[in-house]
Symmetry: C2
């Protein structure tokens, strides 16, 4: 069901509306009136005939017209009865602002369950409970108890923290940042991320989506919906909890190499969502998107009247992901005409400390016209003769006669206070600190460029599901499978692996070796002895049947000498891999929230020391598999560092895709490692495999 | 010579003083008057009898009293003649504000040289040229053309960018940040970092030093002075240029593993200086130090009326280096008394969305009293009934009755504008964003704690020079020494290394092997063939004389078969190291700025892939050597990961110290690598060595 009756409500009833000073019911009613709601408002309260000048009704059932949205502000325990009335009235959407549910303990939890079951039974959608409400400024809908209504605009702001909503709203009013939607999700008992994203995907007024996330409730659905929406409307996320205790310890390498928060970062990346790390950047990117949704690229031209802040901004821009524009020859020639001879002759364009209004104006004009520039960043420091305010006016005028994005940082405080106001009222984006500005631009522009590239190359979906094949379901009495059993399983799925063959006698071992092909390795086969090399149980590089037989005897004798004869159950014979390839790991584990997760990384002895690895939600697309591989440091070795022949990266990515599908389909597997997987220029083979069942 | 006549001048002459609107000479004179300079002011200009009401003099020679400081604002070309007059008058210190020297080309450079030689000859110290000037607000000294004078206070602000000076000054006035010194270094032709640090070290009014650095001019002196000063007065540095092209390519691993900017970071760390990455943090830490120089530790208690910003702040605090205080039982009990039952019962102390003035006041009181808390951070989001202004007043009142540092973030804009002013006027430190605040606190408090620990443990100086021993100076016709020559050199310096012994015949080889002890390795000795293993030129694990002789023949025959008989010059015999230790690298190179630099890191094949290494300026102290080792990831392996016996880290640190002294003293060496150095629980030995001469 769509959320149109939430965001585009034509009639809103407020249950608990009141004239009582400071009551939530009064604030909501006043907010609706102040925002000049374009539809009808029905305050509901049996104690009043009119509330704030609007006719009031004793009950929702007394309203004869259709009502799209009901806002409930009465105490939690009154709500089930109210909802039954709403159901009778066939209300499609309800906002429960009231708190007092699961956050207050067991009693509240039961009450919330009751509320949800009523809504589910009657097909009502609920925002909240325990939320601030929501807004659509374009139609004057302010169904919230926030202090004021946001401005009309192009970005959607969604938050699980009501407090962050109020702070952002206050900030947005000063910055003149306009919103298409503003939603406090509260406890997120019913309406959750995917519902909102699906609505905003089709909302023509929304061009960017900003989410403060505490939890992703329905990860499976979110993966599909978010990946789809992010392709057309940029999504930005901020999420806390980096320092929370890691997920449960796990038995495999993959287990110890994934962390909850890290996994969240990878999930966002895979879904095409940009994760932002600080509130300041989150707010500023929202401001940028709201004022300049048409950023075309990441080539930045910096204009400054001071070298120092220019240098720091270049560092920050590059760190964020921007490029410095290579100014065209024409622009250079034009700048030479208007600037003193000792200008920087480079980007940043240093207009020098004595730059006046006209010099700034002309330089901004020329840079905005430059064909290699996607955006212009103007820095001003209040020097000797600098007229901060007049230069601000000139920059705004110049910007108004061009279509290109422009942002500014006027450094200082008192000297630039008026300029700041001028910029806030203009299309230009004002930042307090130049390096912060430059980094923010870098993050935003590089994310937008990545999305654009993906659209242009019509890249395959980041999550790709195939029809499941009929597969053998493995049964085992133990959770951790033996090396041999693990290997047989992945082998049966078509993965290249060094198989183990068990031999009980030396003749059997020699025969098996001949079948496998020399050279071979033989290892003690024993359920009880785990450290096989410590008891002389591993023999490498056996080149003929005689050597195999001798090695078999040596292993047996070694055990006999240790008095451990009874532990000898034969030997495992396997091919000896002579190719000195690159050791990598393919791994997987099932995350309680995200489901099956795959890992690619450097393998071998120090796999945990360097944590050189990347993660993905299974199944991964070929494009994302390539991204995963390229992100690691071992990638440079795979490319042929240190005189090696380059490995076939495409084939390795295909293998990773195949592995991710295997893991996604094999619902009985909890963890699976192929480690080490030896990759050479000719292909790859796993030397070891390990499977842990759920 | 001390800079007392600069900072504590009792009489100041301004050459070029003027009444002309907008002239630098007028601004400087007006600044001195406005700041209520406590000494005497002598405007110098033959055109005036009085300037801005003060008696003017036609020339400095006409002033009969002693003059401590002369500020020159006249054009560059007039300055040499002026300086000769100053010399005659025995002026100790001069500020040259005027530009027009080396920054404008060859002519300017020659003029600057002239100026400097006059000053040097007559023992005059010069600040500038091309600078904004300097201030000491405490005595009303504003010898600058900045717009206004800073407030009196405890921090020194030094900058190579005049523009950053003006921006900081403007900002400091709004924030009520007081300064003990404010210096624009300009071209830094004479007075430079070490001069200023040496003065500030002894200045009782300075408690923290903030430097915007573009270049370190005299690195050798800076190393000594800065390391000493940083021990008693915290130093903070911001420096741009991270994206500048790397240093010249170098022949060794160490060469490619060090980068200019990275080396700067390590140098600061080693000297005990805290490098800050953003202007915002740099300014905010200055504000913190100015308002709260007595921060005792890094245990932070967070009070918030909203969960979301609290979580983001915890992440940021921990990232910065802070700890979350464990509130005492007493504090818990007291909080339980005054807070609603559903408060967070943890740090952050969530006082809930409906927190009013009294709840905030009491909570702040209790947390400031908590014995486990070093600082309190109060977050407010403007919710429903939140009285942002009154709560700010209450927090300030509570803070005023305690001695503990307190900082705040009132989120939003319009709703918190008055509160922001209240905080700026108070002892409390105001931040725009809570996560930024928390991270800033973390960076500052952890740096101060580190300095404190170093003082308390009376740690040895970070740079420790020994008397040089008489050492053999190596002569060579080639810059890159052979493996054998490199090994002999480091062996002669007392480093444990697998030595090579050259044998021309198989008998010689067998004899050498017996002398060395079995097993041995023999390798082809040839000036022309570099990839010895490709031609079958390496034989490992030879256990007796017969095997050695056979191996010698095989190598010879292998070359003969390839038709490369003439390239055979015998074999190198060396001990075979069987211990499977940890491979590390000790390396060094000479940096053009900092001199000899040592490197410690993971060794072996993938040394460049993981760049797992740390750097230090030679010679390093034992304490810093330990820091270098502990910073790497391979450290966990050295500690005995994956079932290994732990290595002797102390001994390894001693080796690194010894290596750094060797490299510091051997002035003819440009680069030196011991790679791999095999470290076991019993000691360490270098398998290979490589020396490149200057």
């Amino acid at each position: 069901m769509t959320l149109k009756t939430l965001f585009e409500a034509k009639s809103v009833a407020i249950i608990g509306a009141s004239e009582k000073e400071g009551s939530v019911g009064r604030i909501v009613t006043a907010n609706m009136l102040k925002a000049k709601f374009q539809g009808k408002i029905y305050p509901i309260n049996p104690k009043y005939s009119h509330i704030l000048g609007v006719k009031a009704y004793p009950s929702i059932l007394e309203v004869s017209d259709r009502v799209d949205l009901v806002v409930i502000t009465t105490p939690a325990k009154t709500i089930p009865a109210i909802l039954l009335e709403c159901a009778k009235k066939k209300i499609p959407t309800v906002i429960i602002i009231s708190a007092g549910f699961k956050e207050v303990g067991e009693e509240g939890r039961l009450l919330e369950e009751k509320v949800l079951s009523i809504c589910k039974e009657h097909g009502m959608r609920v925002l909240g409970p325990n939320c601030l409400g929501c807004m659509n400024p374009r139609i004057g809908l302010n169904a919230s108890f926030a202090a004021g209504c946001g401005l009309e605009g192009k970005i959607a702001f969604l938050s699980q923290s009501g407090a962050l909503c109020t702070a952002f709203l206050d900030w947005s009013l000063e910055k003149k940042l306009g919103m298409s939607a503003f939603v406090s999700l509260g406890s997120m008992s019913d309406i959750e991320w995917s519902d909102l994203l699906e609505y905003l995907e089709k909302d023509p007024h929304t061009e960017g989506i900003f989410m403060y996330v505490e939890t992703i409730s329905q990860a499976e659905r979110f993966k599909e919906v978010a990946a789809r929406v992010a392709k057309t409307k940029p999504i930005f996320v901020i999420k806390g909890g980096k320092t929370e205790a890691s997920a449960k310890a796990a038995a495999s390498h993959t287990g110890s190499l994934t962390g909850n928060d890290d996994l969240f970062s990878y999930a966002m990346k895979q879904l095409g969502i940009c994760r932002i790390n600080t509130i300041e950047q989150f707010f500023n990117i929202a401001l940028f998107m709201a004022k300049e949704p048409n950023l075309k690229g990441r080539n930045l031209t910096i204009i400054t009247n001071a070298g120092g802040p220019g240098v720091l901004s270049v560092d920050a821009a590059v760190k964020g992901g921007a490029l410095l524009s290579k100014l065209s020859d024409q622009t250079f020639a034009n700048l030479n005409e208007i600037l003193p001879s000792c200008w920087s002759h480079d980007n940043p364009v240093d207009v020098l400390g004595d730059a006046n209004v006209e010099r700034y104006r002309k330089t901004v004009d020329l840079c905005l016209q430059d064909k290699n520039t996607d955006a212009v960043f103007v820095i001003l420091t209040p020097q000797d003769m600098t007229d901060c305010t007049e230069i601000a006016k000139a920059v705004v005028e110049s910007h108004n006669s061009h279509k290109k994005p422009l942002f500014v940082s006027w450094m200082g405080a008192q000297s630039v206070a008026i300029a700041k106001k001028i910029f806030n009222e203009s299309k230009a984006i004002f930042f307090e600190y130049p390096d912060e500005a430059a980094e923010t631009f870098g993050i935003l522009s590089s994310h937008l460029e990545k999305l654009k590239m993906q659209r242009e190359t019509q890249i395959e979906p980041s999550l790709m599901k195939e029809k499941k094949k009929n597969r053998f379901v493995h049964q085992s009495s133990t959770k951790i499978l033996s090396e041999t059993a693990s290997k047989e399983w992945v082998f049966s799925e078509g993965f290249s692996v060094v198989r183990n063959f068990i031999a009980k006698t030396k003749e059997e071992a020699a025969n098996l070796a001949e079948k496998i092909g020399f050279p071979v390795v033989i290892k003690l086969h024993s359920q009880t002895i785990t450290h096989k090399s410590d008891v002389g149980g591993v023999k490498l590089n056996l080149k003929d049947p005689a050597m195999v037989k001798k090695a078999f005897e040596e292993i047996y004798n070694s055990l006999k000498n240790l008095g451990k004869e009874e532990a000898f159950e034969g030997v495992a014979v396997q091919k000896m891999i002579l190719d000195k390839g690159v050791e990598v790991i393919l791994g997987s584990k099932v995350d309680p929230q995200w489901g099956a997760v795959v890992l690619f990384g450097a393998g071998g002895e120090f796999v945990e020391v360097y944590s050189d690895r990347s993660l993905g939600l299974a199944p991964v697309s070929k494009a994302y598999a390539l991204e995963m591989i390229k992100e690691t440091k071992i990638y440079s070795v795979l490319l042929g560092a240190r005189g090696r022949k380059p490995c076939d990266i495409e084939a390795l990515a295909d293998l990773l895709v195949k592995f991710s599908h295997f893991i996604f389909d094999a619902k009985e597997i909890d963890e699976c490692d192929l480690n080490p997987l030896i990759v050479t220029s000719d292909g790859s083979i796993a030397l070891d495999a390990r499977i842990v069942l759920k």
